[in-house]
Symmetry: C2
């Protein structure tokens, strides 16, 4: 079997002549992304720790009355560290250690907001449909050890941390949620936000564990801009992205876990379309690797029971409101993508393209209210 | 100056080694599109008439209870034929002739539904902001000579015709609209549908001529499936696509006129995202070439007044609900893209991914009703 392709971008760079490469990249990726030089100590540390480090920049025009609002976001994609058969505590501790190391490098790169992948403290074990030991990975969003760990990182590095975990909600009958905890650079828990849309596709039968979130479309005012978190499957729903943007989000993070055959041709499209349609930045993060489970499971695809789930194809990237995007991280390796944004670009693109001004939301509010009626009759013209 | 890149797809095919090409295409374009062999007489006619002819196929799985619902759609992109300074009648007649010739080839290819580009009977003269002679291109949607011409084609070739024109609405005080007329394969006018969102960006200040459409999101039941038309700038609005789909559209056509610097990196993303998000096919059509106007005009971009508008970059393509897409037509030449679809794919992908089932439209109807209030307060969490 041939080796996995490392990334589309590297393949194009390797084979296309310079002039064609420039045009192809302009058409496929937009012209707004530049390479960002990162400090030598960060580059060396990443190399030593064995993860890919990329730096990019998405600029805005200078304005007369507003200073540039420069923010560096860090997206981390990673494999699980310990086998899934190890004790829960050991698996979590190993992931804390790994992420702590990468966040230290992010700090060397001047990252202001870091976001980890979906359910980052655990294997994406929901494919097994077994409750134990996976539900033991659930923690309190406010009081759990992972949040305490992130608070320490946030305070130490003056960094906002977006930590997507399996949440145990003791106050509501011990229910589970798929939740992102947003931790201020002060170290305080700013709040939490839950996954609004739950998949029922292939191996992703997560409604076995948790239901649709009930936290709506809240946006978090951080020291580095207004951010929101659209967790995983929510990226397939344009209304979900829209509603975060309508509530003021300038950057929407999309911590995810998704695999090649299912979604890889959708991946470069959805988060990028959301950045374009909503005049904001979007950050798509996927895990990498294949996860092996001791007990075999089936995937609803007529194939025999098996033990491996994956391959998660990484390819994390950042999109800008002007349609530009950064290259993706590797399809196979751990990585940290550092991207410097100027948040002023959001309003600049909005003033140029006016999608919100021309959005006619009154019309859609009316039509949406109609289509949800059980007796809704589609507007179909017959000859 | 270097020659214009013909298309991204041809460039990749020329330079990438076979194995990398296959992987890059799978990731960038999905794996669902196959080449469709077209009849030799059609290939020869296209060559003689000087336009590009491509054939592709987007398949679905066989089902037990439904037969495949195979439809061939034809997208036509073209330059204007006569200089914009010629008499209006001559310009229209030349375009009728050109399109008539291409439709004849479409008929040889077994096309069932053909769609022309936006405002296909005229140059895209709205950039000039001059009213005459451009408003003279406007015609009645029901009684105009262009509709009569399309009815003849429809009947002769047993083809549904989607004809996007500048409409003169005599019944409502001679107002103008940007309107698509849908003509049944019987030759009858099935109805019309208007452009819902009007741009105010760069050279596209079309609200000088017409306002936002008032025909909502109607869908047309044709002999070859349920179709809708999302005209040009409406492709930037995910809610617009969604609402056509919610009313039952299986294919949404997007006749457009858009130029390189403004939108080319958005072009491959938006219609394709709409196909994915709404479990339907989408067909994006753009004109080609540069249009020269006798009177100089400015573009609101600090550059001197000039006479040329363009380059319209063609690149028309079809997207499938599974995220696959066809290659694009050329960026520079007239072309006919014939794509064979199996409409059964729409429900198959819907049953797999369940975006409508998991869409939570009741939640969004409520939130959308809130955000349109002038005193709406965004849901922002502060520390």
């Amino acid at each position: 079997m041939a080796a996995e392709l490392e990334s589309v971008e590297l393949t194009l760079e390797k084979h296309l002549p310079e002039q064609e490469l420039r045009e192809v990249k302009r058409i496929l990726y937009g012209s707004g992304s530049r390479k960002l030089d990162l400090p030598q100590d960060a580059v060396e540390a990443a190399s030593k720790l064995g993860f890919e480090l990329q730096g990019h920049q998405l600029e805005a025009a200078p304005e007369q009355l507003r200073k540039p609002r420069i923010v560096r976001v860090g997206l981390i994609q990673n494999q699980i560290v310990q086998p899934t058969s190890k004790p829960v505590g050991e698996q979590v501790a190993a992931l804390h250690k790994r992420i702590g190391d990468i966040v230290e490098v992010a700090s060397l790169c001047g990252v202001n907001i870091v976001c980890f992948q979906e359910a980052w403290t655990m294997p994406f074990a929901f494919c097994t449909r077994e409750k134990l030991p996976w539900t033991e990975f659930a923690e309190s969003a406010e009081q759990g050890p992972t949040t305490a760990f992130c608070q320490k990182l946030a305070k130490q590095y003056n960094m906002v941390v977006v930590s997507s975990i399996l949440e145990r909600d003791e106050a509501h009958g011990d229910t589970l949620w798929n939740t992102a905890v947003v931790i201020s650079n002060s170290g305080a828990v700013l709040g939490k936000t839950r996954k609004n849309h739950i998949p029922r596709v292939g191996d992703f039968n997560e409604s076995t564990y948790y239901m649709e979130g009930n936290t709506g479309h809240r946006v978090f005012q951080t020291a580095f801009g207004k951010i929101a978190v659209n967790i995983c499957y929510g990226r397939h729903h344009p209304l979900n992205w829209f509603m975060y943007s309508a509530n003021g989000a300038e950057i929407i993070f999309n911590p995810s876990a998704t695999i090649g055959e299912l979604s890889e041709s959708l991946w470069p499209i959805e988060a990028r379309n959301a950045a374009i349609a909503n005049h904001c930045f979007t950050c798509a993060i996927n895990r990498v690797g294949t996860e092996h489970f001791e007990n075999e499971f089936t995937s609803g695809d007529s194939k025999p029971a098996h033990h491996d789930f994956g391959q998660f194809y990484g390819s994390s990237y950042v999109s800008a409101p002007d349609g530009s995007r950064t290259p993706g991280l590797s399809r196979t390796c751990d990585g940290l993508l550092v991207t410097e944004l100027d948040l002023n670009l959001c309003r600049q693109v909005s003033d140029k393209w006016n999608f919100k001004m021309t959005g006619r939301y009154d019309l859609y509010a009316e039509e949406l209210a109609e289509i949800i009626h059980p007796d809704f009759k589609p507007n179909i013209i017959h000859e």
